[in-house]
């Protein structure tokens, strides 16, 4: 890290470390409180441990792709600002668009380094103000919304069943958006729907089905929590395998 560059100065590093400490403290606080309450509810320690380990495994690959976004943005902004932005609130799609909009408004591109402190300050403000909206809304709506839902679904057995169906439906709606994108979407980085996205999707589905049925058949309860992250890795591994063994015309074939 080049400390003489204003984008990666010791002050910037200190801000980043402060934010890392805050986010970690908040997460630990909620984990400890939930853990205690889980014990009061009589949830087994084994279940909690499995939740922790499978969540770590589940997170590794997406976290590395978030890290890749930091690297992409680092061309123009240095490593620290993208690091800060992707540690709090930030998400892959938003931060790239926000940075791009701000840099382009000042006549630059994300491909070239920002050397004017004033431009850098503008990008920092734009990325921050653009992303904080949920934190402003949440304190007002979260509790009300959740109480209403709690009351509605716990009213009767029928309402409970409908509540379950609706929350399953909402989640299926989310998955469907990503599946539809793998089938027919386009992306700003040119990684559009095509052979790769659909075949990785299918491999991950098949891997999951096979792993789940192995768990069921051989009663491998210990493996159960890891079927999801494992299937994800198998899907990603398949992408590397296809790229290595199949002709480029097939792997780069996109219909969008």
């Amino acid at each position: 890290m080049d400390f003489s560059d204003f984008k990666t100065s010791p002050v910037m590093l200190a801000i980043a470390l402060g934010i890392v400490a805050f986010v970690t403290a908040q997460s630990l606080f909620f984990i400890v409180k939930s853990w205690k309450h889980a014990k009061e509810l009589g949830i087994e320690k084994e279940t909690l441990k499995n939740t922790v380990v499978s969540s770590i495994l589940f997170t590794v690959a997406p976290a590395i792709s978030i890290l890749a976004t930091v690297i992409v943005l680092a061309n123009a902004l240095g490593t620290i600002l993208p690091w800060i932005r992707l540690t709090v609130i930030g998400n892959l799609a938003y931060e790239t668009t926000a940075a791009q909009t701000a840099v382009e408004a000042m006549g630059g591109t994300l491909g070239s380094e920002i050397t004017d402190p004033k431009q850098f300050a503008t990008v920092t403000w734009a990325m921050t103000i653009g992303s904080i909206a949920p934190l402003i809304f949440l304190p007002f709506v979260c509790k009300k919304l959740q109480n209403k839902i709690g009351e509605a679904v716990n009213k009767s057995e029928g309402a409970k069943k409908l509540g379950d169906a609706l929350s399953a439906a909402a989640f299926i709606g989310i998955i469907s958006a990503f599946i539809a994108r793998a089938i027919a979407g386009t992306s700003s980085d040119g990684n559009n729907a095509g052979f790769m996205s659909v075949s990785v999707l299918i491999v991950a589905v098949i891997a999951m089905v096979i792993l789940e049925s192995i768990c069921k058949k051989f009663k491998l309860d210990k493996l159960q929590p890891f079927t999801m992250p494992l299937s994800m890795f198998i899907g990603m591994g398949a992408a590397m395998l296809f790229e290595a063994v199949l002709p480029a015309e097939i792997t780069s074939f996109m219909w969008r």
Binding site: G130, M208, S231, G235
Partner: protein, 218 residues
């Protein structure tokens, strides 16, 4: 008891939420004081008018969509740490699925909060270690010619494929409608952002579920 615990979670959540907001606003202030420059208001206003139109409206939709699914603690944690759709939400839901607990119960609440908290710490550590220790090597891993590149380009299809397989089998009747709607929307609007598309597919899935529930098909 039930009301008590959720009330406490909301109180903690709001406190941390306000803390995060203040801390975030300090970042650009410290940057400006440190560099001794302030942004040109005209440029900033023109950038923000574009960004806020898009992201503040999306934020309202996001809050309404995710709050019922993430649980109270999970919601406050997710919105502070970000990367909800591509990480926190699937992580929390898959943990509840594995532990066989339902959302909107105290059991679901603690499991999803633990999962999302662990996921947030893991992400924070990976990014921090990546930036501090591996930043010279990282570009090689993500470079055009790297053997790992295809794997990371396909993280989302792999993640959602695995998730779909376990979830769709149980609720297969609800599945075709939102996917078909999503694909049709993308055929006509291929560049639509995933946030907006998700809203459309969720509405389709929920409407489908309501109709099927009324007709007793579920």
């Amino acid at each position: 008891m039930q009301k008590n615990y959720f009330d406490r979670v909301h109180r903690w959540g709001i406190t941390w939420n306000i803390g995060a907001l203040l801390m975030l606003l300090c970042v650009p202030v410290i940057v400006c004081v440190n560099l001794g420059v302030w942004p040109e208001l005209k440029t900033l206003a023109s950038v923000l008018s574009k960004l806020m139109l898009l992201y503040w409206v999306t934020a309202v939709i996001e809050v309404i969509t995710y709050v019922p699914m993430l649980g109270a603690g999970g919601t406050y944690l997710s919105f502070v740490t970000g990367n909800i759709t591509n990480l926190k939400l699937p992580c929390g839901l898959s943990a509840m699925e594995n532990a066989k607990v339902r959302a909107n119960t105290e059991e679901g609440e603690v499991i999803s909060t633990i999962a999302i908290g662990v996921s947030a710490i893991t992400t924070t550590v990976i990014i921090a270690v990546g930036v501090l220790a591996f930043s010279p090597v990282l570009p090689y891993i993500t470079a055009e010619s790297s053997a790992f590149r295809p794997a990371f380009e396909q993280v989302l299809p792999a993640l959602f494929g695995a998730l779909a397989a376990s979830y769709f089998a149980k609720h297969w009747k609800l599945v075709p409608l939102p996917i078909i709607v999503g694909v049709i929307v993308l055929i006509f609007a291929p560049t639509m952002g995933v946030g907006t598309l998700m809203f459309v597919t969720i509405v389709a899935a929920v409407a489908g579920a309501l109709i099927m529930h009324k007709k007793n098909w579920l």
